[in-house]
């Protein structure tokens, strides 16, 4: 193990986290180059090579792992600058994406324009065919109707094609045949089948997943192949890994096959970063929060497994595939505080972003933000903002709060600032509550892992409000996601539908499905270059009571083919989970099982842990000074000690009230709380 490198493209910066053999981390930022994102990466790796006085080829040849997170796929969808895409669908069902689930948000807002269809109706082309719920063909594929669509596809110069037929999950013959015909007649146009990308019941979700896959595929394929070629031509000796939205990584070849996985993959690394830091101190139930400039992301790890969801939407369209469950609200350092028409104080979701930024930036932002409040309260050191790299003017913060909040509400400036602090905390607490409670999880039994530069001012208060006992603040909290990528497993998901019930369990058929999925998983992992012995397979199934509608995913015994005794185990697992989530179970009922899932992991070689070399035995060695900081318990400022976070020795506690500063983050320790640095250099805030 020599170097591992995580590269995360963000809207403003491309982050690089390089870890050496001693576990020491080097952080580097390049301004992102949205028109050709590889430019920033090329510049960044060159800069990292220069830092070590190595030629690029030598530096790249020493890299064991290069993991890449990108926003190209997501931006393509949001900016709608992808290829001209068409949908082939079952005749009579052209409007699946127009009807959606029929739901209208903001029920009482009659001035809300309905969403535009992602693919216009004239490019949604019907094909005569029909399969029923049991996979039996009701109407044979009419190849003439396929040929007819090809005329339209040619005339309209369609550049990518999604094919999604009803019940293709039970019988994909028709989709497969259409692909053959298209390959022959339109050899240069990529074709994505719904039965390949998401063999799951519910046609809206499957169709939008297929459409999004087809839409991002050409751009992603070109970009990734080009980047990988550059790295390998310059000395990198391994396949490049790409972060996926399921929280695992993948080779370029594989992610091109399932391009949907490249969407929304940025925040997916957060729970892995959180888990990495928590499990080495024997905690495997954590809620990770990541507060940036504009948003606050919450995700969850239970028993060492990140929570996944199948309800993720991009641009209002469900992706359908398993995705790391990241709940995001508009609460960040740049969130704007405002007073509504009725005189109530609100914070966010509007953000001042990086331009013009908070009032204290002096870049023309007039309205006060969360950051401005934190400056007024003394939490942020105006002379040490981003490690002193950005000059800010605390007077601008003060006057913004005074003019926009304090005066209109008839309060003092500190009172108004503390009000902003409380409201944004409350918004974040509600976000955590919604996520945990929706999953049937009691947050009191979890620890909070706080990443992102802005979040650690608030973390102690969030944890306290939620009755938690510990907040873990990783050493790398400023580059949470790019670090998380380095410690994420290679992961692929496989799924097939087969309906059965615990009373009439079709053991043979289920074992057949599981074997097919596992054979495919192993084969593909081996093709990617991983020895069979390093691949870990896990089985899951979607289960429900026969009359029930919504399914829960349960674990299925791994390893050998299922036996009669396993049926009872799966049944019990479902009843238990149902009771935990929904307060009751119906033990006398049988259980329906529908989708069978196999997840293949290949454990990544973790970087060597950083070990703190700080030998001091006196906490005062880390003391930087004192300043006035506002605390709610006395509703006033008090002189408060300020510590240098990089110099806090292992095992010694900093007692609150106190503030700990590092170049990339500030931690506020509230009265009654204490902060320790553990042997890995991470902070643990005891509440």
């Amino acid at each position: 193990m020599q170097y591992t490198l995580g590269v995360d493209i963000g809207g403003t910066f491309t982050d690089f986290s390089l870890i050496n053999a001693d576990g020491e981390i080097t952080l580097w930022k390049e301004a992102s180059t949205p028109k050709d994102p590889t430019q920033a990466i090329k510049k960044g790796v060159q800069a990292l090579a220069d830092l070590g006085d190595e030629p690029l080829s030598e530096f790249l040849s020493k890299l064991d792992l290069f993991v890449h997170g990108q926003t190209i796929a997501t931006n393509t969808v949001i900016q709608r600058n992808g290829p001209k895409t068409a949908l082939l669908c079952t005749d009579g069902f052209r409007d699946i994406i127009h009807f959606r689930d029929g739901f209208k948000p903001e029920r009482y807002n009659i001035q809300l324009q309905p969403p535009e269809d992602f693919i216009p109706r004239y490019l949604r082309l019907p094909v005569k065919e029909r399969v029923n719920y049991a996979g039996e063909i009701q109407i044979q594929l009419d190849e003439d109707s396929v040929v007819k669509t090809i005329e339209t596809l040619k005339r309209e110069n369609v550049e990518s094609i999604a094919v999604s037929f009803l019940w293709s999950i039970m019988n994909s013959q028709h989709e497969q045949r259409v692909k053959e015909i298209l390959a022959e007649k339109l050899p240069d146009v990529p074709v994505v089948l719904s039965s390949d990308v998401l063999p799951m019941i519910r046609e809206w979700e499957r169709t939008t997943c297929t459409i999004l896959s087809a839409y991002v595929l050409p751009g992603i394929a070109k970009y990734m192949v080009e980047l990988q070629d550059f790295l390998q031509e310059n000395g990198f000796r391994h396949p490049m890994l790409v972060m996926q939205l399921n929280g695992g990584t993948s080779t370029v070849a594989k992610v091109i096959q399932k391009s949907i996985n490249s969407l929304a993959s940025g925040p997916a690394a957060a729970p892995m970063a959180g888990l990495y830091c928590s499990k080495r101190i024997d905690i495997d139930n954590v809620i990770t929060v990541d507060m940036g400039g504009t948003s606050f992301d919450v995700s969850m790890v239970t028993n060492g497994m990140p929570s996944l969801t199948r309800d993720l939407k991009v641009h209002g369209m469900p992706v359908g595939v398993a995705a790391v469950d990241v709940h995001s609200i508009g609460a960040g350092g740049g969130s704007i505080a405002w007073i509504d028409k009725g005189g109530a104080l609100m914070v966010g979701p509007q953000s001042a972003g990086a331009e013009p930024g908070p009032a204290c930036y002096g870049q023309g932002g007039k309205q006060p933000t969360c950051t401005d409040a934190n400056i007024v309260l003394g939490y942020i050191n105006p002379d040490f903002f981003l490690g002193g790299r950005r000059k800010i003017d605390p007077e601008l913060s003060k006057s913004a709060i005074e003019n926009y909040i304090a005066k209109p509400l008839g309060m003092s400036v500190p009172e108004a600032a503390y009000g902003i602090f409380r409201i944004i905390n409350n918004n974040m607490v509600d976000a955590i509550r919604v996520v945990s409670v929706e999953r049937g999880i009691d947050p009191r039994h979890y620890s909070l892992v706080s990443g992102g530069g802005a979040g650690n001012i608030h973390a102690g208060m969030l944890g306290r409000t939620l009755d938690m006992t510990k907040v873990i603040i990783p050493r790398y909290s400023g580059v949470f996601c790019s670090f998380g990528m380095i410690v994420s497993d290679v992961r692929h998901d496989y799924m097939q539908a087969l309906a059965t019930n615990t009373d009439r369990f079709d053991l043979e058929a289920v074992n057949g499905v599981l074997k097919d999925l596992e054979d495919k998983a192993i084969q593909e992992m081996v093709e990617e270059g991983y020895p069979e012995g390093e691949v870990v397979l896990e089985r899951f199934a979607d289960a429900k009571y026969p009359a029930q509608i919504h399914e829960l995913t349960i674990a299925v015994p791994n390893g050998a083919p299922l036996r009669d005794t396993d049926i009872q185990k799966m049944s019990e697992a479902f009843h238990d989970l149902h009771e935990r989530m929904f307060t009751y179970s119906v033990r006398e009922s049988s259980v329906d099982l529908f989708h069978w899932r196999v997840v293949a992991h290949r454990r990544v070689k973790e970087p060597n842990p950083f070990v703190s070399k700080e030998k001091s035995t006196d906490i005062n060695d880390a003391l930087k000074g004192e300043r006035s900081v506002f605390f709610g318990d006395i509703n006033d400022y008090r002189e408060t000690p300020i510590y240098d976070g990089d110099r806090i020795p292992k095992g010694l506690a900093v007692k609150g009230p106190a503030v700990v500063e590092q170049a990339t983050t500030t931690i506020v320790i509230f009265p009654g709380q204490s902060l320790e640095s553990n042997e890995f250099g991470d902070f643990v805030l005891n509440l």
Binding site: H98, F103, G343, Y545, F582
Partner: protein, 638 residues
């Protein structure tokens, strides 16, 4: 610097008279508590959605959750179904009255009684009081539409029911739990009187879980702020909504405005029944008087007090700033009345099983019309009747065991009306639902029930046209898999289509028929009525799109070309209604010809109508689509 900034000054002046500062309320705690109530109502909603056992609750989301204070006044609702959330207080007041002084911690009171203020018998209400240190502070309440309620036929919305004894097992306010103990005998009596007992038991548990969850969270909230402080803020939350609503209503010109419309039929063959309203707006109060509406019908198509209060309220809540939190503070500005014995407010023991679908849709339609005369920019074109949403049922023989099945099938629902700034949405299903109902995926439908859906697409030219267009209507074709399917049509608005506003045109009205797949023979049916669909036959529904808003000649011509290219409207409609000429192969706009045609049309046409149609039975869909030898069944009975 700030002194010269006009924005700051404007804001500072505006908030000098801040409602909250007058009330001596800390605006920060105010925001925290306001948001917390919303979070609690949302959690109640999620619990109900995820745990219920029937598609009508778990997928279609035909339910609502809300929080009341002890009085009871609405404190917070999750914006679920407007027809529920704007009227839950009526039934809850009856519950409070029924158990006056005998409401205990741990009680669960339920009811479906339309004459106690419930919307209709299909809606089942569960309520639990929230006590803190011995003091009754709040109610957690849910209302969920049940798949069955023990009617004489397998539907919870029987248009043909003659009286309350035919339409359902009537449950006046009754305790299912007392002091935390279940009354198993009473619960058992209830379950013994409904079909699909197992499913309804699952749904009952879901509705109980929801209110218990709400209760738990409210106690946590009071723990945090103390009972007195909490109630002080509840008062402020209501006042806040009150004052903001007041400000909005004052902006609407005072006056008396009239609206009228017609119900297709009462389910027993009587057609074109009038519903009308006289809407008085004075200062910050709105009163809706439905006097002059037709006498009550002889079937289940009759209104209730609950539905009337919701119907008067929904258009008004849509007309005010959508950011105002919805609670008693808004609702107290709206009052309504109707003569007892009219179709809007039937007299006991008349059946009212259909109330939330019809006359609800028509009641709201006339309020929208009256409101449009006062403030068209705040109103909407018509939403039409709630039709092509049959209750379907039968026996499923596909598995090893035969089983009874039933579903409310929302997938063919009607489109929404256009407003000044927005086109209508599809599948809005009247302003009772307002898009709060979800459809069930075709695949889930075919897996759960022995049916095949052969077609489910936008119906060309089904919507009203205008500067903004109504949401599209839908054509849907459903056939039984291998066993007969009972099909209860429970809608309205086919022969009385959703109105167009300020020159906008009405939706098509639409309709439905049974088709013999071999001979092609079709039997058309009114929006209400029963048909059996045998294997080899199909039920086909064509729902209406919503009404259009404003002059169609002002709609952006390029978007009209796109609609023709997409098959949403026809080339003829583009030319005749929108005055748009385009190339018939490329759909490219002919700018010059369009400008000339639009000019000609403007010069030669009659003045635009504010509202159309203004007469009963204006829907022509059935006449236009029926061929010789095909019959039209009016309100056929089982």
């Amino acid at each position: 610097m700030s002194a010269t900034n006009p924005i700051v000054d404007e804001r500072a002046n505006k908030t000098k008279t801040s409602f909250l500062s007058e009330l001596d309320i800390d605006p920060i705690t105010f925001s925290v508590i306001l948001n917390r109530f919303s979070t609690i109502a949302r959690e109640m909603t999620l619990t109900l959605e995820y745990t219920s056992w029937t598609s009508i609750l778990a997928l279609a989301r035909d339910f609502s959750c809300a929080i009341y204070d002890a009085e009871p006044r609405q404190v917070c609702m999750e914006d679920a179904l407007p027809v529920h959330t704007n009227s839950l207080h009526v039934i809850l007041k009856s519950m409070v009255k029924a158990f006056d002084g005998k409401v205990y911690d741990g009680d669960v009171i339920v009811s479906n009684d339309p004459y106690s203020g419930n919307t209709h018998v299909g809606d089942f209400v569960t309520a639990t009081p929230v006590f803190y240190e011995g003091k009754h502070m709040f109610w957690a309440v849910t209302k969920g539409h049940q798949l069955d309620c023990g009617a004489y036929e397998a539907t919870s919305v029987a248009p043909s029911a003659k009286d309350v004894w035919q339409e359902a097992l009537q449950l006046p306010p009754i305790k299912f739990y007392e002091k935390g103990e279940p009354r198993d005998d009473v619960i058992n009596m209830y379950l013994a009187n409904v079909r699909y007992r197992e499913l309804l038991y699952g749904d009952l548990k879901a509705q109980l879980g929801s209110i218990w969850n709400g209760k738990r969270r409210m106690i946590e909230l009071v723990d945090e702020y103390g009972p007195e402080e909490t109630m002080r803020y509840v008062e402020a939350i209501l006042d806040y909504a009150d004052r903001r609503t007041s400000e909005e209503i004052r902006a609407i010109p005072d006056g008396k405005y009239f609206g009228e419309g017609w119900i297709d039929s009462d389910g027993s063959g009587n057609t074109d029944l009038k519903v009308c309203v006289s809407l008085s707006i004075k200062d910050d109060q709105i009163h809706a008087d439905f006097a002059g509406s037709a006498p009550q019908g002889s079937g289940g198509t009759n209104g209730t007090q609950g539905v009337m209060e919701a119907s008067a309220g929904i258009p008004i809540l849509c007309a005010i700033d959508p950011e105002i939190p919805h609670n008693d503070g808004c609702l107290r500005h709206i009052t309504c009345e109707a003569p007892e014995g009219s179709i809007v407010k039937a007299k006991y023991p008349a059946a009212t099983a259909m109330a939330t679908l019809c006359p609800a849709g028509q009641e709201q339609e006339v309020v929208w019309k009256a409101l449009a005369q006062a403030a068209p920019e705040r109103s909407s074109a018509g939403y039409g009747g709630f039709h092509c949403i049959p209750s379907i049922s039968g026996v499923d023989k596909r598995g090893e065991e035969e089983k009874e099945w039933a579903a409310m099938f929302f997938n063919g629902g009607s489109g929404g009306g256009a407003s000044k700034n927005a086109d209508g949405w599809p599948l809005i299903m009247t302003s009772s639902g307002m898009g709060g109902l979800k459809i069930i995926s075709a695949e889930m439908s075919e897996l759960l029930y022995p049916i095949m859906i052969d077609h489910h697409e936008i119906e060309t030219d089904s919507m009203g046209h205008g500067k903004t267009m109504g949401g599209a209507g839908i054509r849907i074709k459903v056939r039984p898999y291998d066993t007969p399917m009972a099909c209860h049509n429970t809608g309205d608005g086919c022969s009385n289509p959703p109105f167009g506003l300020l020159g906008g045109t009405p939706g098509i009205g639409g309709g439905n028929f049974r088709e013999n797949l071999e001979t092609g023979q079709r039997d058309f049916c009114s929006a209400k009525g029963y048909m059996e669909i045998k294997p080899g036959e199909a039920w086909v529904g064509v729902s209406s799109g919503g009404g259009g808003f404003g002059d169609p000649l002002e709609r952006e011509a390029a978007s009209v070309c796109d609609h023709v290219r997409d098959g949403i409207i026809s080339m003829e409609t583009a030319k005749d209604v929108y005055g748009v000429i385009m190339n018939s192969d490329t759909y490219e706009l002919d700018d010059q010809a369009t400008r000339e045609l639009r000019e000609n049309k403007r010069d030669s046409r009659e003045p635009l109508k504010d509202i159309q149609p203004t007469r009963p039975n204006a829907g022509t869909w059935a006449q236009e689509n029926m061929k010789e030898g095909e019959q039209f069944l009016l309100d056929p009975l089982p």
